[in-house]
């Protein structure tokens, strides 16, 4: 049995690790206009759709913070957006990835568009970008389109019924991993 031989905790970090490496190594190399792939949004959405609840929210925050640190933009903006995004996507607190794929695609597409547009509006408001049309059509939309396209293989791999036993999906994707080691934040 795979579960008896593999460490669930190590499996839990495969997807974040893959997304982090892709964000640093691949995202700068592939562009559509000014748009770049946001692998951290993909990570946050996958975690939220797979685990939901507090686990999804924490991964959303960490993914956003990683994105903020890896770019030249203000720190905390994407963290706030992905935290909210993860909370909304993961409110059902159950694994949705292996269920209705079209529903997952629509949910991600909407979240992708809103996060990209929200980030662009915030950048406009803070003076980091100028020109509404240019910001939306040359930056936000290409980013949203690219990110959506690159979400498809993740959905395919993680959405397979057997994904629970291996692959990127790893185990239950719980934050703590092994039994009795879940992250708990008392009082929240």
């Amino acid at each position: 049995m795979p579960y008896a031989t593999q460490n669930p905790r190590s499996r839990s970090f495969v997807l974040p690790l893959v997304c982090a490496v892709l964000q640093l190594a691949i995202a700068p190399q592939i562009g559509l206009g000014n748009g770049r792939i946001n692998f951290m949004l993909i990570l946050a959405a996958c975690m939220a759709l797979r685990s939901g609840g507090r686990t999804g929210v924490i991964w959303g925050f960490l993914a956003g913070l990683f994105f903020d640190l890896s770019t030249t933009g203000p720190i905390g903006l994407m963290a706030a957006e992905l935290t909210l995004c993860s909370w909304v996507l993961g409110r059902e607190c159950r694994n949705r990835l292996s269920e209705d794929r079209s529903a997952n695609l629509i949910a991600f597409g909407v979240a992708d568009l809103l996060v990209s547009l929200g980030y662009s509006l915030a950048m406009l408001a803070t003076g980091n970008a100028s020109g509404f049309l240019a910001t939306v059509f040359l930056r936000a939309l290409p980013t949203a389109v690219l990110t959506f396209v690159f979400f498809l293989p993740f959905l395919y791999v993680l959405g397979r019924p057997q994904a629970g036993g291996g692959g990127l999906g790893g185990g239950g994707m719980s934050f703590g991993g092994a039994k009795g080691r879940h992250l708990t934040i008392r009082g929240l």
Partner: protein, 315 residues
């Protein structure tokens, strides 16, 4: 354990309690606090230090990505050069860019000779103190046009240093980690470089835009500017050495009633360079002299007054 895993992966349940609403609220507040602090820091502070540390960890991954992507960069050129031998075209483009750069340098020296500068100063004009660096990554996000180079504070680089390639200026360092630095390209919409038209000496500011077009702004309509003119650094501000090539004027428009031209500039470097030169310090001679500033101010105020009076006359 196995049962729990099966349930977790099968979609029947989740071990987290609650939807994490309170936690999300707390983390959003933390994010907004970080955002506020980040905006207040302005490039120096705890968060900037953390970002510098992060860049050290990120650099090997960015370099690896650049290495993997390198063989595919030439694909775009293949389609552009379909009608001609690619090797010939590439050689001609390189030679043309070099000749443009040399031409700009020679013209600059000739202009300075006319200004009765000493021969010694001319010889020193492009004697730049600089260090070479390799480009390891492009922009990580959609909001900036930047490059990441493989040298940082440990090599003596600091924020603000000008960066050139073989043809001319490409940008300026905006973030500096111990082993890597981020260079803001002149096409970035936050970029602003003090520049002048080489033939007429008309001074303005070279600005980038969201779509990557570079504009030369604040050139009064009384100045003489035409398509094909070379645009070079003016040396004002003491950041960029004077006379380095920036690009050529590709279009000049004079909107009705405007006091300044709308000038589009084609950057002298069109492709992403693989190696760059970071200018670590410039001599007094490479900066625009204080008298130049004064004369520029005088000229600008005269031009402004002329433009105002002509506008008044028209009205």
């Amino acid at each position: 354990m196995a049962v729990r895993q099966t349930l977790g992966s099968g979609g029947l349940g989740n071990t987290d309690e609650g939807t994490g609403g309170r936690l999300a609220t707390v983390l959003v507040v933390i994010s907004l606090v970080l955002f506020t602090l980040s905006a207040q820091e302005g490039g120096s502070g705890v968060l900037s230090t953390i970002r510098s540390g992060f860049s050290v960890v990120a650099m090997p991954f960015e370099a690896a990505g650049s290495l993997v992507a390198a063989p595919f960069r030439g694909i775009g050129n293949i389609f552009v050069n379909l009608t001609a031998d690619q090797e010939t075209l590439t050689e001609l483009e390189d030679e043309n860019a070099k000749l443009k750069a040399e031409n700009a340098q020679l013209a600059e020296e000739a202009t300075d000779a006319q200004s009765l500068r000493s021969l010694l100063e001319l010889q020193d004009q492009y004697n730049l103190e600089s260090t070479g660096a390799n480009v390891i990554a492009g922009s990580t996000d959609s909001w900036s046009s930047t490059l990441t180079i493989d040298k940082g504070t440990s090599s003596g680089l600091t924020v603000g240093m000008p960066v050139c390639d073989a043809n001319g200026v490409i940008g300026q360092i905006i973030e500096c980690g111990p082993t890597s630095s981020v260079v803001r390209l002149m096409s970035d919409e936050s970029s602003a470089i003090s520049a002048m038209v080489q033939t007429s000496r008309a001074r303005g500011t070279l600005r980038g835009s969201a779509d990557g077009t570079v504009y030369l702004t604040t050139i009064a309509v009384s100045e003489d500017v035409s398509v094909g003119d070379m645009v070079v650094t003016s040396g004002l501000g003491g950041v960029f050495p004077k006379g380095l090539p920036l690009g050529t004027v590709s279009s000049v428009e004079r909107p009705e009633g405007a006091v300044s031209y709308t000038i589009t500039v084609e950057p002298i470097t069109q492709t992403t360079p693989e190696q760059v030169l970071v200018i670590t310090s410039i001599t007094q001679e490479q900066q625009a002299a204080a008298s130049d500033d004064a004369s520029a101010d005088t000229a600008a105020s005269t031009d402004s007054a002329t433009a105002d009076s002509s506008a008044d006359t028209q009205s």
